[in-house]
C-alpha cells in the first residue's frame, strides 16, 4: 500500500514537473466527474464518456484517487491514477483489494485473506462536450483486468484470471433542466465476461461469452459544489457456484474546487460470493494533481 502510494506520488511529481505549462483547469467545475471503482473517469460504479480531469483540448491532466467500499461481509478498496490528454485520451490504472470474511477464508482454507486485481484502462472521446454539444458526449473504452492470485476464481469455476471489458458511454449535462437545476446523465453499455468486476475471474460454467451489460447514472447539481444522484450497474451471472446481482447506489459528491472531490454513497450490491444482502458505505476521494 505504502509502495503504491509512493509510486503514484512520484509519477505525479514527475509529470507535474515535466508539463507545467499545460496544467488543466479548462472545464467548468464538477464537469470532470469522479473516479470510477475500476479507475476510469466516471461516476462511482459506472464509466462515463467524460475523461478523468479538467483538461480542455489544449491541456493534459493527472488525477489520483482512493475508494473504499465497506459492505456487510466484505471490504473493497481501490486506488489508482489516471492521466488525460487534450480531452481526447484517458489512461488509467487501479489496484483493487478485496478483503474476504473470515468464514470464507476458513471454509476454503485460503492462504490469503484478500484478492488483489490490477486494472489498466484506456478511453477515447469520440464526439462532443457533455455541457455544450447538442448531442451527448460519446466515448469508447476498455479495461484490462488481471488477478494477482486465481485460487478463489478457479475454485468457483471461473475460466480465466484475466479479461478485458469494452464499453461505450454517452454523457450529457442539461443546463437548468429541472426547475433551474443542472441535470447530468450517463448511459454505458459494457461487453464483459467478468465475475464481480473480475475479482472472481472471468467467464464460468453458466456462460463463457461476452455479454452486454447496461449501466447508468443520473445526477442533479444542487449547487456549484454539491451533486446528488443514483447509479445502476447490470451484472452478468456467469458462475453457477455463486450468484451475482445488479448493483445500485445513491451518492452525494462534494466538489469544493478543481483540486478535489469527495463522494459518499450508499451501495446495494446484492449477493456477493455466497453472502446475501451486501449493503454499505462507499467513500471516494479524487485529487486533481494538475
Amino acid at each position: 500500500m505504502i509502495r503504491t502510494c509512493f509510486k503514484i506520488a512520484s509519477v505525479s511529481y514527475l509529470a507535474v514537473c515535466a508539463l507545467p505549462s499545460v496544467a488543466s483547469d479548462g472545464k467548468l467545475l464538477a464537469t470532470a466527474g469522479l473516479s470510477q471503482i475500476e479507475g476510469s473517469g466516471g461516476g462511482g460504479l459506472v464509466p462515463w464518456a467524460t475523461l478523468s480531469g479538467y483538461d480542455s483540448r489544449d491541456e493534459t491532466s493527472v488525477t489520483a484517487f482512493m475508494t473504499d467500499v465497506n459492505i456487510t461481509d466484505y471490504r473493497l478498496s481501490s486506488m489508482g491514477a489516471a492521466a488525460s490528454f487534450y480531452d481526447r485520451v484517458e489512461l488509467s490504472y487501479a489496484q483493487q483489494t478485496f478483503v474476504l470474511p473470515a468464514s470464507l477464508i476458513t471454509q476454503l482454507s485460503l492462504g490469503s485473506e484478500e484478492i488483489k486485481q490490477d486494472i489498466l484502462g484506456v478511453k477515447v472521446r469520440l464526439y462532443g462536450d457533455a455541457v455544450y454539444s447538442p448531442y451527448p458526449q460519446l466515448s469508447v473504452g476498455l479495461q484490462y483486468k488481471q488477478l494477482d492470485d486465481d485460487f478463489v476464481a478457479d475454485y468457483l469455476g471461473a475460466k480465466s484470471d484475466s479479461g478485458t471489458d469494452f464499453y461505450v458511454a454517452a454523457t450529457k449535462v442539461h443546463l437548468a433542466a429541472v426547475g433551474g437545476y443542472n441535470l447530468v446523465w450517463n448511459l454505458a453499455a459494457r461487453a464483459t465476461k467478468a465475475n464481480q468486476l473480475g475479482l472472481l475471474g472471468h467467464g464460468g460454467a453458466g456462460n463463457n461469452h461476452y455479454k452486454v451489460m447496461l449501466e447508468g447514472s443520473l445526477g442533479v447539481l444542487l449547487s456549484p459544489n454539491w451533486v446528488m444522484g443514483l447509479e445502476y450497474r447490470q451484472k452478468s451471472n456467469n458462475l453457477t457456484a455463486v450468484q451475482e446481482d445488479d448493483w445500485t447506489d445513491v451518492f452525494v459528491s462534494y466538489i469544493p474546487n478543481k483540486n478535489i472531490n469527495i463522494t459518499a454513497a450508499y451501495a446495494n450490491l446484492g449477493t456477493v460470493a455466497t453472502k446475501k444482502d451486501q449493503k454499505g458505505i462507499y467513500l471516494s476521494m479524487t485529487g486533481y494533481l494538475w
Partner: protein
Amino acid sequence: MVNHVKITALVLSVFLSACAAPTKAPVSLYEEIGGQATIEAITDNFINEVSFNETIFQYFEKTNITRFREKFIEHLCVDTGGPCTYTGDTMLKVHQGQNITEADFNTTVDLLVSAMEKAGLSYLQQNRVLRILAPMRGEMLYK
C-alpha cells in the same frame, strides 16, 4: 338523458371558464433578476473580472470598452427576454480572428458566473442564463 347533457354542459362550461380565466403573464428572466440595473451590474462585474485576469484580458486589449459594455448589455438584455434591441455584430464576427481556445472560453464562463454571483443572481438564475448562452459557444471557439 337530458339531465346528462345538462350536467356535461355545466361541467364543460366550468372547466372552460377555468381555462379562460386570465393567467398571469410569465415573468421574463430579465424581470426576475431585476431588469436593466442587474444586467448592467453583471456587465460591469464581468468587465472588472476580465481586467483582473491576465490571460483573458489579452483578448480585450484592443477592445473599445465603452462600445463593448453597451453591446454586451443589449445582448444580455435580449437573451434574458428584456425589451431591448441588439445593435452589435454577430457573435461570429465579434470573436473571429481571436482563435479563442477552449480553456480560455471556459475560464471566461467562470468569470461570467462570478459576475452574475456578485450581481445577486441565484444559482438557479445563473444556470438559466448559461443555458441561453451555451449554444453560442460554436460561434466563439477557435474562430
